[in-house]
């Protein structure tokens, strides 16, 4: 990471090479943990598709659902911390986030992940990553009471760590920028003022939204725990579903926007153009703060008792949020690369294709967030298609780009162009094959979350079997990437 040369950088606490080295090491460790968990969770995904393709000789359903829960929650969590770690590292150039809090978040994440692995793989806790109320309390004899307690404990540890982390990053930004400065209100008003880097604007807006998601998490977790305690009172299922999706959808959105912040910050280093915060960009991201609060209602379209005005709000919000978040970012990315001198390597390729994948997944999401379409697509494999597209082929590529770039800078080992293109090709071929098959299966009415397909849905078996071939391609890309980026990160740690 380049040493800052201005007063802002000095105020950011990176004035000493030692501080910069400590930040670099902390982030490298984060990336290595993300790599390990990514590989394990990808293999769990492969296991599920093998099971659905009837190629495993009968994986017990309780194992499938435990694996599904770990894969879903794990991936959401891994990429959230990956994005936060990347943003923290880049933010240290502008402000002074706390390394101690970074380490606290690391410890809390590890503890929470270990708990989660135990309750799922040992306890067979299998609610799926939504842990939809009241399913945790009704195992049908599959998972024991301690698994439920452990699951809530895991969420509690992760939630507390991540909330403190979020607050710390906002605190660091606040010590450097006023709220209006960080959100570029002066740009919106057309007044002169200090430059607000797009990275700061996007990060600030995203972390402010994150506060809402974590408050929702606190409330829903408290209600779950109250119900779980002896003599506890139950909760209204509709309220719980609203709160769960407020938190869950919010967390996924935040992760994606943090990934986009990394794109805004990193991609210009590879092109001959720079990005600045103009009025359109400022308006888009300020609007996104509030739209994020209204989008999650599209998860409750099929809950007939949800008041109709909230359903309409969900559809309008889901449509509108694509404008600031995706449209602006897509055009910004295209502007950076169109007819520009671009240094294409694994980092820039992943950043570019990450934005494009995010856009494609976003189109699928907008389609599914149309109420009339949702009647057909709800709970079909279309849904995993869209979130695997904007995650695996979107934000995951963005974060992996950052990790590779960090490894390259830290180790001094330059990127291998040929291997970078191979890795990109394998990721895209395998990843798009996987998600296209999900989408086709969804259009063919194959439901999601089935451990085995009954006779009426045997087409699901075929789609699952064919998708394994693409997962193999993807896995090859993942392993090659882990070799490329992993050894650079390890060498960077030793440097």
């Amino acid at each position: 990471m380049a040493e800052p040369s201005d007063a802002a950088g000095a105020a950011a606490g990176l004035a000493t090479a030692d501080a910069a080295r400590r930040w670099r090491r902390a982030t490298l460790v984060w990336m290595l943990v993300v790599f390990a968990l990514f590989l394990i969770l990808t293999l769990l995904g492969l296991l599920m598709r093998l099971a659905q393709g009837n190629t495993l000789g009968g994986l017990p359903p309780e194992v499938f659902y435990a694996v599904l829960t770990l894969h879903g929650l794990g991936m959401v969590g891994v990429w959230y911390v990956g994005a936060m770690a990347g943003v923290s590292h880049r933010l240290a150039r502008f402000a002074a986030p706390s390394l101690a809090v970074n380490r606290l978040a690391f410890g809390g994440t590890l503890a929470g992940v270990v708990l989660l692995i135990v309750v799922t793989l040992v306890g067979r806790f299998g609610t799926g990553w939504y842990f939809l109320h009241p399913l945790p309390f009704h195992s049908g004899g599959v998972w024991p009471d301690w698994a439920v307690t452990g699951f809530f404990a895991s969420l509690g540890v992760l939630g507390v760590s991540w909330t403190i982390w979020t607050v710390d990053l906002l605190r660091a930004i606040a010590r450097r920028y006023s709220l209006g400065g960080a959100l570029a209100w002066h740009v919106l008003a057309g007044r002169p003022g200090p430059e607000t880097p797009p990275f700061i604007l996007v990060t600030t807006a995203t972390l402010i939204s994150a506060l809402a998601a974590f408050v929702a998490a606190v409330v829903v977790l408290a209600l779950f725990v109250i119900e779980w305690l002896p003599g506890g009172a139950p909760s209204d299922p509709l309220l719980m579903k609203n709160l769960i999706f407020f938190f869950g959808h919010g967390l996924v959105n935040i992760t994606m926007y943090l990934g986009v912040a990394l794109v805004y910050d990193l991609l210009p280093e590879f092109t001959s153009r720079k990005l600045s915060t103009n009025r359109l960009v400022a308006a888009a991201w300020n609007l996104a703060i509030f739209l994020v609060l209204a989008v999650y209602f599209h998860h409750l379209y099929m809950d007939f008792v949800q008041p109709r005005f909230l359903q309409y709000l969900g559809q309008i919000g889901s449509y509108l949020i694509s404008i600031p978040a995706a449209v602006i970012s897509i055009f910004s990315t295209l502007y950076l690369v169109w007819r520009a001198r671009v240094r294409w390597n694994l980092t820039s390729l992943f950043l570019f294709f990450g934005v494009m994948g995010w856009a494609i997944g976003g189109v699928e999401a907008v389609i599914d967030s149309t109420i009339a379409a949702n009647f057909r697509f709800h709970n079909t494999l279309w849904v995993p298609s869209h979130f695997h597209t904007y995650y695996l082929l979107g934000v995951v590529l963005m974060i992996l780009a950052f990790a590779h770039h960090l490894g390259e800078e830290s180790s001094g080992l330059p990127s291998n162009g040929r291997r970078g293109r191979w890795i990109t090709g394998l990721f895209l071929a395998g990843g798009y094959g996987l998600v296209v098959l999900f989408a086709l299966a969804g259009a063919d009415s194959v439901p999601r979350r089935y451990s085995t397909y009954p006779e009426e849905l045997l087409q699901g078996v075929t789609y699952a079997r064919v998708s394994v071939a693409f997962i193999a391609l993807l896995l090859a890309g993942v392993l090659l990437y882990l070799w490329e980026a992993g050894r650079r990160c390890v060498r960077g740690l030793k440097a």
Binding site: P194, I208, V219, P234
Partner: protein
């Protein structure tokens, strides 16, 4: 396990050929993953959770505990069971002695069916009076729906059912049909299809059965109401359902639910906001307050 290991081994060979630079580090990571997968295939020690598998409603346990039903006997039916289940088309004999079939009634109009017996001296008389009052309050009997009071007692004659109707003042009331099941088998099948049960209690010398009604539309159960009385507001929901009007109401797990965001208003059929809605506003409020608190406190070093 062997097939899975063989599959994974073949996969590994393929990756070696395609990516000749994937050497030991990749294999080590894969080995770690296999260990994790092996752990996933191991047996899990599970135990039934008394808390996670509470008996439905809890009332059967209370009733059993009160000595009315021996332990292990069926409890009250759950209202969320048997939705859209087909109703047995029982052969009946009405209070005029005419043979009927239940399907004749539900084809004419949506139907509310309740199972009683004419000689009952326990729950049936007060239950029927409660139903009568509720139907009177809600209205629509004979226009939007009919009410079928069906006896499951093979000993009940048409005259007994006519006398029952007369005692209630419903013998000439439009929309009310009093009938007895034509045979014990018909009574049993009908009760089963509605989720009801009938049991002779030798200790009490009485016939036990739940007090309930079933709303039947197109030959299928669309609602069950279980309880010793029929509150008019609950019957209103049932009647709306039979009229194919949307009812934004759902059963709560218990009376002790902490917060609700919306409260269904049976008098208007709409919803009113409840205190739980504040919990949906809390995240946004927390976001704003947190932002103000963080940016309000930090002053030095600002650009």
């Amino acid at each position: 396990m062997r097939a899975r290991a063989q599959g994974l081994t073949a996969d590994r060979r393929g990756r070696r050929r395609r990516a000749s630079t994937a050497r030991a580090p990749g294999q080590l990571l894969l080995g770690v993953a296999l260990l994790v997968l092996g752990a996933a295939a191991g047996p899990a020690q599970t135990a039934d959770s008394a808390r996670a598998d509470r008996p439905p409603g809890g009332s059967s346990a209370r009733v059993a505990g009160a000595g009315i039903l021996p332990a292990g006997e069926p409890g009250l039916p759950r209202e969320d069971e048997r939705l859209y289940a087909p109703v047995f088309d029982a052969a009946l004999v009405d209070s005029a002695g005419a043979p009927r079939r239940l399907s004749e009634l539900w084809r004419r109009r949506p139907l509310i069916v309740t199972l009683v017996f004419a000689r009952c001296t326990l729950i049936c008389p007060p239950y029927l009076r409660s139903l009568q009052r509720a139907v009177g309050a809600v209205g629509g009997a004979g226009e939007d729906y009919d009410v079928a009071v069906v006896s499951f007692d093979p000993g009940d004659t048409p005259a007994a059912m006519a006398a029952l109707a007369a005692r209630l003042g419903l013998d000439d009331e439009p929309g009310w049909v009093f009938a007895a099941a034509a045979s014990p088998a018909a009574a049993r099948e009908l009760a089963d299809s509605l989720g009801a049960w009938v049991r002779w209690d030798p200790a009490g010398l009485a016939t036990d059965h739940p007090a309930m009604l079933a709303a039947v539309d197109g030959g299928r159960v669309v609602r069950l109401l279980v309880g010793a009385t029929v509150p008019p507001r609950r019957l209103r929901e049932v009647v709306w359902e039979l009229r194919h009007e949307f009812v934004p109401s759902y059963p709560l797990p218990s009376e002790r639910v902490l917060f609700r965001c919306f409260r269904y208003r049976p008098d208007t059929g709409g919803v009113a906001l409840d205190w739980g809605f504040l919990l949906l506003l809390a995240p946004g409020a927390g976001m704003l307050l947190g932002t103000v608190a963080i940016f309000g406190r930090a002053r030095p070093g600002r650009g």
